[in-house]
Symmetry: C7
Subunit: 242 residues, 7 copies
């Protein structure tokens, strides 16, 4: 068995650099993200849409009871791909930070600042010993003061970037390709939702179909400025349209 | 002896990622679950049933004195497969959390929230050094406010999911197969108990038999909203029926 | 030398899982138990008997000064096999817990609860780094409120189970075989003591003999509800009877 | 595979010396810097210019939302190459230190002292166990009291030095060559900005072009003594001039 | 070189079990005891005698200034074999515990309890990481309340046992053999001292001789109930008698 | 590749002895010193001179902004060779200690005591785990009370010694040779400075030249008793003289 | 290369026992002692003499400024061989303990007790993780109350012993041989000093000579009861006599 540099030990100790300046543990944590269910976000002038696929390993799984789109505050939601239990910890943290901000400043937390706050926790878990990085990427989206739609994705390294559209998880590569070809900035919110849904459909294998149970959708439109999740009926209607 | 990636060390240090984004220690903890006694839960419209097998290694074991179905609060119970001593620690924790919730909010804790609280402890034991993950999976079931039956299973990783029916431990695979074929959502509570019992029977080897000592059964029906365990007589009667 | 999975390192770091879900350090701690002096407990309707063998490595050892049967509280005693110094620490802890219970609740501690309290300490030593598991198994026996005889054995893992009869240490396997064949639940307390003693005798090598110095016996009968140790004379008389 | 001294383990444990007196982890952290986007600073008599390239991995990246030039205080800014999340932590720290200085002393912090404060944190992360060095180099520039332009670069080791001009990241070597040939100390601020921009252009591959989205520019001129970032329009105008 | 299980690493990490349930570090600590100067204790009906050999590595060693028999309290003394610096720490601890007992309870500490207190410290050093076991065995002897002579030996593991006579260190095996043959329980105190001295003499190599400088003797007789050390003259007289 | 004892692991763990009683990490830290810029000190009856070379890796380095000679207090200065960031930490510490001494005792700190205080920190970093030794040697020089010139060098081990003259860094060996041949104790301060400068010149490669930018000079003369650094003009004049 | 047991790892981890009961790290620390400058102490009826050699690695070393004989209190001094920086830490500690003793008890500290206090620190550094043993042996000598001369040597293990004469460091073996042949207990103090000096001379290589700079001498005579160091003149005179 040939041993590349990865196998020589740089990837086994937490938070150390390899000779080429990589942090392998952080790279491997991203692999956990790539193995997650497909998750994506789209930002247009009319608002932001978050969309997450849910897959049934067994018929006995009560997939409707699984939440993949989370409201963080009135104006902002998030979704994730990767280790679900890691994601939960960060989402709890984000919610408490958003709430605290409202209590102290009496106004909604800025979406970029909220993303930064999550990402700072992630960074700390890549630099200090005795812990492993978070194996999860979060897509955060919502409407900031001044009717500003915002969409950001935060990586296991703690790096975060703003996107027009972003897709992660198993179908992330295919969905990104679809979005690169079809994205337009001036869609209305309904069309934005449909674009997101079609991007997810592009990742399905032949014969696979989406139904209201296998997708969760959240959106925040510039007009209302609030983040809402689609109900089962709304999702059914939407899927029938397509 | 051929060394696969597991043998190259990714599985020996606690809480680190392998190149494919796995946490081997967490996967191995799940093996401890698979070696446990068969345990299962079924949720129908009429309520939730938890059922655990008890096996006698020696005749001298006082199997009636062993508890495998635990009441966490009036409305919710749980069972587990895996390391019994690990399970005990989490059950104690769950009980104190449920009690504390009643004291502070004067109402029963939501079953999903209670499961989340247990799972957050589990997650922490997969991300921080100096500890090992919990080698136990818990099935939590009961009736929430509004006569909502709930059934959730929490894995060693700290991930938890809602199920219509779920089976873990040595006979978990066979019992799951049985349940997938025979599960119906609109059974009455008595039929739900019988379904659970038949799923366990499907895991017996030829010649093996269940008796009142080798199975423990708990249930919560929508009408009463409380979690109860079957007495020895009730179990005897039930087994005679089948 | 062929290296099995144990030799590949899963058994050297404390508190980590092997690929098959075992905790080797805990398994090895049980080996220390198996190397201890033979110790056993028997529970019948009339009460509970604890019995421990004492072996003389040298004539100069003042074997009468060695205590192997310990009173934990008026109604409960214990014995152990394995590392004597580890056992002592747990027995001290158990005594202080029993005393504290009396002080706070003004009633004797339940025997199962006392065993749980010991076992929780043991569990912690298998899950946290920087310590090794306890290399000792304790047999705890006594009479609970309502004249309930109780007999439990707690393993190095922190798992504990109730038994009708249980034997550990060097002669544990042979004594268990004897007890499986000869155990009856409705013996009077005197016959229970004799059964325990005969189980120990079954473990002697040809030519070996028991005398009052080589065995220690404690019992708790349902009538008195208290735990007592046999005096030298009582043990002599008993051995002469057999 | 031939193993040089690096592969013999001196580079795997944090914060230890190799036989030749190197700290490999610190050297490797510098590799992360070399892999970052090109970033540079130029100091002339008229002021200081900081310039950072931004590259689009995908069209969907909202590159205008990414900040690479940061104001630390009215009179001083900074940019970085390397791990963005590491950089963010240090910039937050620098800002709070600058603010605190103003609050306590009622005057702007000296730029060299501010750089030293950042660098002391970096040094600590190279000497103490349980952490890794910061994988980021910061270029700090601004105008000190007395109209003194200042430009410093701080390395992952915690060493910092003053420069007339300095370039780091992927194009660092080429940009440095360009600056060594074309640097003059007595340029006006406009010409200084142009020099910085041309140094970045020298690093472009054939066919690549800069536009207002792919570069961020900040400067502090001796006259105003304040640090400003160029707007989108200013950058467009500038690029058109060239 | 053939590697037995010891060489496979079970003996290098502190406080872990080998597959056969041994704690190698504790076993090795006992080797340090076996390499110490010969030390022994004898208990008869008339009292307890402690005796320690002192060997001169060089003529320049002021052997009379070395103390090997220590008074712990009026009624109890001790001696040790193994690492002298480890022994000193435990003796200091024992003295402070004995003193504290007198202060709090206004009566002498029981000798077995004092030995237990020392042994509990030893046990802790075998179960917790970051420390090594104590490389010393102590022989503790004296007269308890009710004119009870007591003699106990505590091992590096923290196990302690009562003895009629016990010998450790380089000549421990030979002295034990002598004592096993010649020990009688009803000697007067003078004869007990002579027995101890002759047991030490049995360990001398041909040509070696004891003198008042090469042996230290302490005793506690039942009549006085106090622990005393023999003076140089008393030792000279005694040796001349033999 | 032949492995000497160094390669067998004694040099990889911090703060442990090799079989020959060496602390390899400390030896390796000294290698970092040897790779530093040449630095030297000379003490004569008239005073003490410290001198440090500064080398330009690139023309863009603002070498005049780099400080290598540091005033610690009015009467004492220092310079260093090795890791600049490590040196900075110790110099900050030395300054605060000198200041504190003035505040508490209202008199200048003794130079040997100040050096001891720095060296005690260094020693601690060689004996405790979780840190590496300081990779820097400091030359401390000045005038103590009673017009006593003092010159000391402190090594990474924490050992410090007084010198008539001492040179470290890349040119340390050559400069030491020059000083051994040319040192005289009764030079006036001007001649002492020239001796130091000539010793540095002896380390230049053929063709290399010193200019006012490539050397920094500090001195303390017995008459004034204060430590001063030469200005750019003074250095230019001096170099022209030679 | 043949690997003895030392090379198998018992000597690399701090504070663990090898199979033969050795603590290799402590043994290796003693090697550092053996590599130190020769140091010796002699005790006679008239007093105690401490003597330390000082060797010049370079002519530029100000050997007169190096102190090797240290006063700890009026009545007691010490010297050491081994790592100078380790010795300094222990001497500082000893001085503060001696001072504290005077403050609390208003009388000089007993020399054996002072040595014990130093040795307890040394012992702790051999039993707890995260530190290395002290690589230094101290010779402590002085006059106790009642005109008692005392001479003790404390090893890296924390063991200490009283001596008539003791020599350590590079020439320790040869000096010990000389002292064993020539030591007499009833020398006057002047002759004791000469004996010590001749013992050091015995360690010189052919052609080597002692001068007043290469030796430091301290003594405490029974009459004055105080510890004094010889001045340069006294040392010159003494050497001329011989």
């Amino acid at each position: 068995m040939a041993l590349g540099p990865a196998a020589m030990g740089y990837d086994r100790a937490i938070t150390i650099f390899s000779p080429d300046g990589s942090l392998y543990q952080v790279d491997y944590a991203f692999e956990a993200v790539k193995r997650g269910w497909t998750t994506l976000g789209v930002k247009t002038k009319s608002g932001v849409v978050l969309l997450a696929e849910k897959r049934k390993a067994t018929q006995l799984l009560d997939v409707d009871g699984i939440e993949k789109i989370f409201m963080l505050d009135d104006h902002v939601g998030c979704t994730f791909a990767g280790l679900a239990s890691d994601g939960r910890i960060l989402i709890d943290y984000a919610r408490s930070q958003a709430l605290q901000h409202r209590l102290i400043y009496d106004e909604p937390i800025s979406i970029e600042y909220l993303t930064k706050v999550i990402s700072d926790v992630k960074q700390a878990y890549t630099q200090h010993g005795g812990v492993r990085p978070f194996g999860v990427a979060l897509i955060v989206g919502g409407i900031d003061k001044g009717k500003q739609p915002k969409l950001l994705m935060t990586e296991p390294s703690g790096q975060f970037m703003p996107y027009y559209a972003v897709a992660i998880g198993q179908g992330g590569y295919t969905a990104t390709e679809y979005l690169e070809k079809n994205y337009k900035e001036d869609l209305d919110i309904q069309s934005t939702i449909l674009l997101a849904l079609r991007a997810l459909m592009a990742t399905l294998k032949p014969g696979e179909k989406l139904n209201y149970s296998s997708v969760e959708i959240g959106y925040a439109d510039v007009d209302s400025g609030t983040f809402k999740k689609l109900t089962t009926e709304e999702r059914s209607d939407l899927l029938q349209k397509i």
